[in-house]
């Protein structure tokens, strides 16, 4: 039982990073970024390129992957979302679907569709309080927690974070108060790119690196954000942890191939019963 909880928390932390990224862009730009899945994939592949093809240690490669993806996110914003800044949010979400296709297939174009993995030593799992814990899980927990603390610090303790929260709450009011919206948007994309990049590396360490790895995370990530309440990054973390544990628990009664269906069920129930999520504001029904 403890083992299931542990595995659930670890897979929840994997979902948490992209969920924070999605929640930040959702809050500030007011559209769901469907390209988040392919951003995860691309981050994983940039790191893989440095790690396997060039031979950089994985930690440094992950950093380069995150930086590379932040650049990709900024360029995407400049080329795609900026010209559409004044369009309605449906246009933006259809555009993000287009971005999804471009990014995932750029990955396929450059690196092929084969299943690959990072250059890491295979180690025997540790025993701790009667549970099996492997090195990858420890890394995931440490990196995810560090990233979350960093995001929390930026959001709650810096002028930039205050500006981000202000734009997310009420863009017009924030503009009147002299907050530069474009600067905030750029910062949000950069942070979201870094988070998705690290998430990609962690997902790749936990499983394998292939072009569909990010797409498979779309449902749990969206479920986490909806469960936590749109535009509420801390809620997204709680949502992600709940979903991770729920997915692990579901393997007790469902075949493991249906793990992802848990996210679908959670989305349906949240939308039916409490569409603004656990911690969101009631502003979403029409």
């Amino acid at each position: 039982m403890l083992q299931i909880l542990l595995n659930g928390v670890v897979s929840g932390l994997l979902v948490a990073l992209p969920a924070i990224a999605l929640s930040l862009t959702y809050g500030v730009l007011n559209f769901p970024n469907f390209a988040i899945g392919s951003m995860i994939t691309m981050g994983a592949y940039i790191a893989l390129f440095f790690n396997v093809d060039i031979g950089v240690p994985l930690l440094l490669a992950a950093g380069l992957g995150a930086a590379g993806l932040a650049t990709v996110a900024l360029v995407t914003d400049r080329l795609v979302y900026k010209p559409l800044r004044n369009s309605d949010h449906v246009t933006l979400l259809v555009a993000s679907m287009g971005v999804y296709f471009v990014l995932e297939n750029v990955v396929r174009f450059l690196w092929g569709s084969d299943i690959r993995g990072y250059d890491i030593a295979v180690a025997r799992p540790h025993r701790w309080m009667g549970m099996r814990v492997n090195n990858e899980q420890i890394t995931i927990v440490i990196v995810a927690l560090l990233a979350m603390v960093a995001v929390w610090f930026i959001l709650m303790r810096t002028p930039l974070g205050r500006a981000m929260r202000a734009v997310s709450d009420n863009p017009d009011l924030a503009g009147v108060r002299g907050i530069n919206r474009n600067y905030v948007i750029a910062a949000v994309w950069a942070i979201s790119g870094v988070l998705a990049g690290f998430a990609g590396v962690l997902v790749g360490m936990d499983g394998v690196v292939d072009p569909l790895m990010g797409w498979n995370y779309i449902l749990p990530v969206f479920a986490a954000v909806i469960l936590g309440g749109i535009g509420n990054p801390l809620g997204a973390v709680v949502g992600a942890l709940l979903i991770g544990v729920a997915e692990e628990l579901s393997t007790l009664i469902l075949p493991t191939t249906y793990r992802q269906a848990v996210a679908f069920l959670i989305i349906v129930f949240v939308l039916l019963l409490r569409p603004h999520g656990l911690f969101g504001k009631a502003r979403i029904s029409r």
Binding site: S113, F264, S285
Partner: protein, 302 residues
């Protein structure tokens, strides 16, 4: 060459049908359906499985339509009160759940191997190229019927209410229109057309597997609707044809660039789909044609 053209035309017709459905659901009623590929898959599998069980093709197609209508109505019932972006997420989640089911319930769907040997309707009547041409004829009739159906809905008071709800549901409901009921019916009507498209797909290819029903189906449909002009059925036909010509054209990329391998050429095509969708949204969001509007006759203005 005629064989190739026939195949492309049938392909265009199937895409145009999916586009028509999206044009009703999103173009008219403002309900974003990102899960089209899931409904399309359900229709194809229902038609295929019933035909393989010995049901006549027409009945199999009817069953497929009924299945998608019911599922569409259910999905709409759950999510029609939500804002567009939530509907997009909910429908996408539905389609992913469908994909999981198709991949894992091997006893029914054949899993990743798919369903081979779906019986083609009227296969005793003609063979070879004649059969292809006959199938094209059937597809044209189906498209014509669905087009008339969509057009009648669009110009009817029903379509007018849908557009009113899309623009401002508060005003429409103040005038006594029940938002939920209209949205559910619009979504189900779209589902019926997707049911026809899925049946045609199954019967034409006589082999289906889950990879044929990916998110790219949704992207094609959105491109066709946006290119044609959101809400216009005639525009949609033009949009669907031009999008498919463009996409088929990219098949020849491989001949132009022989240094690419097959996988790279395939991914380049999908990159172009994404880029095309984005460019349309940025440079031509209004499309080719304007949507239907009831107009007063000349001199009728009081």
């Amino acid at each position: 060459m005629i064989g190739y053209l026939t195949a492309i035309l049938i392909f265009v017709i199937i895409s145009a049908l999916i586009g028509l459905a999206l044009n009703l659901q999103w173009g008219q009623a403002g309900m974003v359906n990102f899960g089209i590929f899931g409904f399309f898959a359900v229709a194809a599998y229902v038609a295929a499985l019933s035909a393989m069980a010995g049901v006549p093709a027409l009945v199999a197609a009817l069953l497929a339509v009924i299945a998608t209508v019911i599922l569409s109505a259910l999905v709409a019932l759950v999510s029609a009160r939500l804002r567009e972006d939530y509907l997009a997420i909910a429908t996408l989640a539905f389609a992913e759940a469908v994909r999981l089911f198709l991949l894992n319930e091997t006893w029914l769907t054949g899993g990743a191997n798919g369903l081979p040997g779906i019986p083609r309707p009227l296969s005793g009547v003609a063979s070879g190229l004649h059969y292809e041409l006959m199938f094209l004829g059937i597809s044209v009739v189906v498209l014509a019927l669905c087009f008339v159906f969509a057009q009648l809905l669009t110009v009817s008071p029903f379509g007018r209410v849908l557009r009113a709800l899309r623009e401002d549901d508060l005003v429409a409901s103040t005038l006594g229109k029940t938002t939920l009921s209209f949205r559910v019916r619009a979504f189900a009507a779209g589902g019926a057309i997707i049911g026809a498209a899925g049946s045609l797909h199954s019967f034409y290819f006589s082999y289906i597997d889950p990879t044929q029903f990916g998110a790219f189906v949704t992207a094609y449909a959105f491109m066709a609707v946006i290119a044609g002009g959101r809400g216009s059925n005639t525009g949609l036909l033009i949009g669907a044809v031009s999008v498919m010509v463009l996409l088929e054209g990219t098949r020849f990329l491989k001949d132009l660039m022989p240094f690419l391998d097959a996988g790279q050429a395939a991914s380049l095509r999908l990159i172009l789909i994404g880029v095309g969708l984005i460019l349309l949204l940025i440079y031509r969001p209004q499309g080719f044609m304007r949507e239907y509007r009831l107009q007063a006759k000349d001199g009728d203005v009081s």
